[in-house]
């Protein structure tokens, strides 16, 4: 089912949670809503579900072109998965999953056998075949969340809505569930919206990422696009680590401390206008290179303050003479080759940088 959100706003008292947000989600797509807490992502999800109602009449939520803004949550046929599972504590796993079928009006309710068959099928899908008789309290967090997902899937939802579903789980379980969710989505292909504040999760799972900040959508696009071509400073900053330098813009290039760095403009946008003033220049840690000696290319001199080689890349922290901190990711092979030591003075060069047009230019 396709979903269209048109001019949706929501205020709680004097607090604006959503400010005129519009978004289109195609049938069968897996979209993540990514943003810091308070960005409005959960509110948007709850409005799509019908657990919250948007302000005013101009706010529209269309399911397959039909406006459901006035429909109750029960009639929208959405599968909602809560961060803290919200399983029915007093019911077994089996009863939890069967709930949505049991509460249907008599005329639409499947027979006992059909319900049992459906539940068993779902138990298999979540790899908990022998856990039907258990109570939620007897399950681990990851198992509970899978039961919650199965319960939501039992009603054959038109859309699956997941509110930070893996937020309360530890890193290892989270990774496992993330992969499993991706595979599950390829299998059943139900339109899915997942809310998260974990950028890694958002980029890994989604077909498209919606980055939200302060009640607005900052950027929408495939994971690679939002990561490599962030449209705004916020997106650049929020998706992964970034070094921020003070500099200026000259002839489409960023200039930091006398060093010129290529700063490609957005596709289709005009080249950056010159800016003499105080401009923020963003460089990702993996876009920086460390060299022992000046090799002719312009570079910044800096001293290594800390090295963390535990990982696929070695994370090297440096400080310039002015005390500005720089973070560089060095590929492990390269790191071994250089044999860097704490306290050494080295030269840092940038492959590319990014500057953003000031707000009022957009």
């Amino acid at each position: 089912m396709s979903i269209e959100i048109k001019n949706v706003s929501k205020t709680f008292g004097s607090y604006k949670a959503l400010d005129n947000v519009s978004l289109t989600i195609a049938d069968g797509e897996l979209v993540t809503l990514l943003g810091p807490s308070g960005s409005g992502k959960t509110t948007l999800l709850r409005i799509i579900a019908g657990l919250e109602s948007p302000d005013g009449d101009e706010s529209k939520v269309l399911f397959d072109g039909e406006n459901v803004a006035q429909q109750s949550v029960g009639s929208r046929q959405v599968g909602f998965v809560f961060q803290h599972y919200a399983l029915f504590k007093h019911m077994t796993v089996f009863e939890n999953i069967a709930f949505g079928l049991r509460v249907r009006p008599r005329s639409q309710r499947p027979s006992r056998e059909k319900i049992a068959a459906k539940v068993n099928e779902l138990l298999k899908l979540i790899h908990l075949e022998n856990f039907g008789a258990r109570y939620p309290a007897q399950l681990s967090g990851g198992q509970r969340q899978r039961v919650a997902l199965a319960r939501a899937l039992a009603i054959e939802p038109r859309v699956l809505l997941l509110d930070e579903p893996f937020g309360a789980l530890d890193a290892k379980v989270r990774q496992g569930l993330r992969d499993w969710l991706r595979r599950l989505h390829e299998e059943i292909h139900v339109t899915t919206i997942l809310v998260t504040h974990d950028q890694e999760e958002a980029l890994e799972v989604a077909d498209r990422v919606v980055v939200m900040n302060q009640a607005r959508i900052e950027q929408v696009g495939p994971p690679a696009e939002v990561f490599h071509h962030p449209k705004t400073e916020f997106v650049m900053d929020f998706l992964g680590q970034v070094n921020v330098f003070r500099g200026r813009v000259e002839q489409g290039q960023a200039v930091v401390g006398g060093v010129r760095i290529d700063a490609p403009a957005m596709v289709g946008a005009p080249a950056h206008a010159d800016r003499t003033g105080d401009t923020k220049v963003y460089v990702r840690p993996h876009d920086l290179q460390i060299a022992r000696h000046m090799n002719g290319a312009p570079a910044l001199a800096a001293t290594i303050t800390r090295i963390n080689p535990a990982g696929a890349v070695a994370k090297v922290a440096l400080a310039t003479a002015e005390g500005e901190a720089i973070q560089v990711d060095v590929p492990f092979e390269k790191f071994r080759e250089l044999g860097l030591e704490k306290g050494e003075q080295v030269y840092v060069a940038a492959k590319q940088a990014r500057v953003f047009a000031p707000e009022y230019e957009i």
């Binding site: 504590k89 509460v103 908990l128």
Partner: protein, 292 residues
């Protein structure tokens, strides 16, 4: 190794004499102040043996008092059950203006002396009261009659159920209800299948305490009853009447009924608390398997 362990235990343990004093003192106080009076009731009631005990019940006034007490409880408890559920639902699941005021208001009967609450009803519904002329014109009697007793009982038992449910429901939040609604359940189905089962033990606990108080209430009922023998006496009032007439055997026999009710209440309460603990323990039980 084991020696250091016991040393450590000894280090955080209070001396024996202190433990003995604390435990002994508590037991002595409980025995003297709680257990002894309870024993006296039964000893006095059975002073003339079983026969004498049963004879005390051979009194139509006694049966009338028992009946009125049961009627008052039978009205007050279900009323408070419904009210308690509604109020705690409203307080736990909705945000509205004056919520904290409402919570304090529910506690009012705990804060006000029962005698005062009885008096308020007399001032409202009595012959000289605000509504007195209208009531007597319509031939309705509330004060010095069963309705007044029921009203007073409802008033004093008002907080019991709500007080038990509000903290529990607030802690549970409304996510399970939202989940039920999103799965297509109606409001009624959500209440019966999700909300009620989640609070059933606390609800039962509240009802039991409410019932014990409804049957045992003296102060408020005494004011509105008028002590009309065979008409407006409840069991506690009847006991006082018998005692004032120096009929202590009958007084204690009646008192034994209320005492038994109290003991039974405590027994059920203990069982429920044990059940609640079991439920909590079960929720702490770790999962045995973590499949892929």
């Amino acid at each position: 190794m084991s020696a250091t362990l016991t040393d450590k235990r000894r280090a955080v343990r209070d001396p024996h004499w202190l433990r003995g004093l604390m435990i002994g003192g508590t037991l002595l106080a409980a025995g003297l102040l709680l257990l002894l009076p309870l024993a006296v009731i039964f000893i006095e009631a059975f002073r003339d043996g079983w026969r004498g005990y049963l004879e005390s019940f051979n009194d139509p006034y006694a049966w009338q008092a028992i009946r009125l007490t049961i009627i008052a409880a039978a009205v007050a408890v279900p009323l408070n059950l419904v009210f308690g559920l509604v109020a705690s639902w409203a307080i736990a699941k909705f945000d509205f203006f004056g919520k904290s005021f409402l919570i304090s208001l529910i506690d009012l009967p705990f804060a006000v002396s029962p005698v005062i609450s009885g008096l308020v009803y007399v001032l409202m519904f009595g012959l000289q009261g605000w509504l007195g002329p209208w009531l007597s014109a319509n031939n309705l009697q509330i004060i010095f009659a069963a309705p007044g007793i029921i009203l007073a009982t409802v008033f004093v038992t008002f907080p019991f159920v709500a007080r038990e449910l509000i903290p529990l429901m607030q802690e549970q939040g409304s996510e399970e209800e939202q989940a039920a609604l999103s799965l297509g359940a109606s409001g009624w189905q959500t209440f019966w299948r999700v909300t009620l089962p989640n609070v059933k033990w606390a609800l039962l606990y509240g009802v039991i305490l409410c019932n014990a108080r409804a049957m045992g209430e003296f102060g408020a009922v005494a004011v509105v009853s008028g002590h009309i023998r065979g008409k407006t006496n409840t069991l506690p009032l009847h006991i006082e009447l018998l005692y004032n007439e120096y009929n202590s055997r009958a007084a204690f026999a009646m008192a034994s009924l209320l005492a038994l009710l109290g003991v039974a209440t405590l027994a059920v309460k203990t069982i429920i608390e044990w059940r609640l603990r079991q439920v909590q323990l079960a929720s702490l039980e770790p999962s045995t398997v973590e499949p892929s």
